[in-house]
Symmetry: none
DNA sequence: CGACCTATTTATAAGGT
DNA sequence: TACCTTATAAATAGGTC
């Protein structure tokens, strides 16, 4: 591929093979990580060198990816031996445990602990991650606030409408109080009232069965000064 | 990488992301196969697209590679009893697995993902955590920079001293060139030169066996104009 | 989707330290 | 072993079809 293009077949020279292995392994892992990041893909990569050394990478959790892979593959194959693989079963714990350790360390680092031993480059990467996290979090928070505000404004508008209507009603009541109670005075029955609506300024209130439908809205609204 | 270099972060545009996924996935699998062929390595690669499609490759057999991976991981973890108690093993796995899931979620949230379903209170807590993390990280970064700068200044001072001394030596050489080379001209042997130091302004350089002691310092110093 | 195009960026073979 | 350098091959972003 370079100074001289090489054929894709096993490299005979042991030293050259090891050198190529190191370089290409790094390249492969880099590409895997990039693909995972760029395209939001879940990736697991396991490489054993010819000398038996293990290198692995997983975008999320090896165990998760394995399981997902098994699920997809299992169905294509015969629903055969249920766990002939004692080793696989028994070492699941080891895998999971390793993952717990890794994730715990990562969490600590995101919290700004255990930073010793990190290079400047790694620190910068961490900083970028944190900034991305904060940025997305603030976006979400803003969205929540805005949604809340919108909901509250709608509620306010409806309440004002109802209010207006009630005022009109009160006026009407004042004038017709004694004569008309037996005709249309049952305000607890909306359907009856609604039928009296003829589109005039003293309209009936809009159907508002959902004033209290949003629990969060209700809770949050309490934190605003009234 | 190409017509225009792109940043390694999730591609927002769905179409572009899918196209990139296809291209890079093919590239990644090709590289994996080449590495396996060239260097006689055992490789397993699993990729799930963001839409859930599975792509995999294994130089031998997935199961084989998984098992080998588990064995290695297991050995690193606990070189102990090869599981006497299956029940214990399973429950430990369950616990660890749950932990992995929890930590994975927490990590995602710290990265600003999966924020839906969090209350405002939880968001605020998360924000505080992130701010604490950034704050501690920046403190560490600043410390590293300052340490680096201090080291560089010390080095600078030493180099200037040596420089000065070398200039003096050059002067002396100019004046005594022909007559005295046999007496003190071996500038490659500092100890000999040092013995000529009598405290005058043309002092010998300080003992500087540690000029190269800090790899990072050395690297950084190269980036300064000489 | 995939195939092809092209200008650029990356990866890397071979060599050196 | 790992890292640097250099010239060159390979990968690929952004198009078009």
């Amino acid at each position: 591929m370079v100074r001289q293009r090489i054929e894709i077949k096993k490299i005979d020279n042991v030293t050259a093979r090891q050198v190529t292995f190191s370089k290409r392994r790094r390249g492969l892992f880099k590409k895997a990580k990039e693909l995972s990041t760029l395209c939001d893909a879940e990736i697991a990569l396991i490489v054993f060198s010819s000398t038996g050394r293990l290198f692995d990478y997983s975008s999320s959790s090896m165990g998760q990816v394995f399981e997902r892979h098994n699920l997809q593959t299992e169905n294509l194959m015969q629903p055969n031996q249920p766990s002939l693989d004692l080793h696989l079963d028994n070492s699941r714990y080891a895998v999971a445990s390793k993952e717990v350790k890794e994730k715990t360390l990562e969490l600590r680092r995101l919290r700004g602990e255990e930073l010793h031993g990190l290079s400047l480059e790694e620190l910068k990467k961490l900083e970028k991650t944190l900034e991305g996290g904060i940025s997305r979090l603030l976006k979400t928070k803003t969205e929540m606030f805005e949604k809340e505000i919108t909901a509250l404004k709608i509620k306010e508008a409806r309440l004002m409408e109802v209010n207006e209507w009630l005022k009109q009603q009160a006026k009407v009541q004042m004038g017709t109080d004694k004569r008309q109670t037996h005709e249309q005075g049952q305000s607890s029955d909306q359907s009856v009232i609604t039928t009296t609506n003829n589109g005039s300024s003293a309209a009936a209130p809009p159907p508002c069965q959902d004033y209290n439908s949003s629990d969060t809205s209700l809770k949050l609204s309490l934190s605003f000064p009234s």
